[in-house]
Assembly symmetry: C2
Homo-oligomer: 319 residues x 2
Amino acid sequence: MKIIGVDIGGTSIKSAIVDEEGQLLVRFSFRIDPRKSGEETLLELGKLINKTLLDNALSPKDISGIGIGCPGSINSTTGYCDYSNNLRWENLPVVAIVEKLTSIPSKVMNDANAAILGEVRLGAAKGYHSVVMLTLGTGVGGGLYLNDRLYEGNESKGAELGHSLLVMDGRECTCGRFGCLEAYASVSALIKDTLGAMRKDPKSAMWGYVGGDIAKVSGFTAFECAKKGDPSAQKVVDQYIRFLGEGCLNFINVFRPDAIVLGGGLSGQKEALTKPLVAYVASQGFGFGGSHSPKVDIVVSSLGNDAGILGAAALWMKV
Amino acid sequence: MKIIGVDIGGTSIKSAIVDEEGQLLVRFSFRIDPRKSGEETLLELGKLINKTLLDNALSPKDISGIGIGCPGSINSTTGYCDYSNNLRWENLPVVAIVEKLTSIPSKVMNDANAAILGEVRLGAAKGYHSVVMLTLGTGVGGGLYLNDRLYEGNESKGAELGHSLLVMDGRECTCGRFGCLEAYASVSALIKDTLGAMRKDPKSAMWGYVGGDIAKVSGFTAFECAKKGDPSAQKVVDQYIRFLGEGCLNFINVFRPDAIVLGGGLSGQKEALTKPLVAYVASQGFGFGGSHSPKVDIVVSSLGNDAGILGAAALWMKV
């Protein structure tokens, strides 16, 4: 039997036919038309699934299920997208619509939860029992896999890890609170801090790196220029590592996980991100308890952009 | 069959014979002699258990098991107290020692975990599926019951909820970090803030309440004087509610629990604590998500000082 994994993003829907071992067999995707309603977008998805099956000489009976990852507040029990700020979807019965269009049993879950499930089943977090995933992108997304099970919280709305405090009354966060981890450790925050450091230091190598164009500043700018020895870039990286490290220490103290997995765009920095981060966390004795603290591995995502598709597909794997 | 529940504290060991429904039948306890080693203290416990059984015409065969709650880093899988700062115990095989002395199968777990298990099975958190417990005492203890199971973390050392940040680089915490929730929301912190407010306001009713003796200031001082309309006391309470409320919002965002249970000495304030706290949390839209956030109940512990004994005993209940 084969499985269909669907990763709904803010601007496009990426999907694939996947086998039981998580191999991607056929990819298919389309851009979301922002003028269309949620129902219309799902109609497009359903048609594309049916067409892709036909094109590959498959019928609904060859597919054990469709797994869907969707951003926002997703109730995986009712199969509804209750609310998605990015998609402007509200009270949308995602599972019922997709099942009706395709005649294939379907499940939906939050996209961050799908990503951690992918990493745990098939990626960097394989073999760990309790895992905290932080997705470092526009925001700081979170996922929790505890005692060998995904933890979704009440109405599967848990794990807004980016919206726990780093500094009460600190930087304003998109969520309305002040001082959330997201306001310090997201790529958006890193870019702001990079720009601030560049303005302070007109001689920084970061100016040359972006060709003098501040629109080209990304989460990688400070990291890449720090590698080349630029002191202002190094300061930005050091401060970022401290913000992210303190966030990791919070979750280490709360969960005592086996592993923290870092996903999102910034995880592409790999060892340039994890090496100083591990050093920072270790310098703090892995949080409360000093030498009696269990060790925590800090690793980067290995599935990258496919974590969402594979995690959604994993909802139908028999492992 | 009956069960023995044991709650090891910093200064005394409280125990009881309990029935399958959690009724306390016979209580027995003794003060811990701080000059004695861990082995010697457990020998005293074993002797007292054997004597209590004899006194009540019971034999080890009438007891399905002994459940023990113990402060510190407890590995419930190996049955060891790896380290307890309060007791100065290290690498102590608690389960093996107690089983050898009593010939009754035994289990040990962290005392905060025992308390939440007691509340979930028999107390204020009965019927909830995902519960965060905060014990407001000398420190801020934590317990997690997630998806109908106790969450103990790697080596059962999880849930140091008091040692997640409220304010990075803020108040010094006993754990070595700066800015932990414990440094703001523990009763010790509340007492410090109460004393600070009294020093600032020599006319405060709090001075009369403690008879001019600052050694009598407790976690109740500000709460009781605020009830009587003292403005300085009210300010202390308002600030405390904000600290605790921001901590609750953190855990609401991370876990989306059904309920937060407040235990420890300060929970004796009951509605004087929960009413303003619920109002504060509600004013923030129950954390990230505003109107789409699931509701969270905030309640006080109902088992009080017996939560530890009953939770430890619950390790052997068949429910």
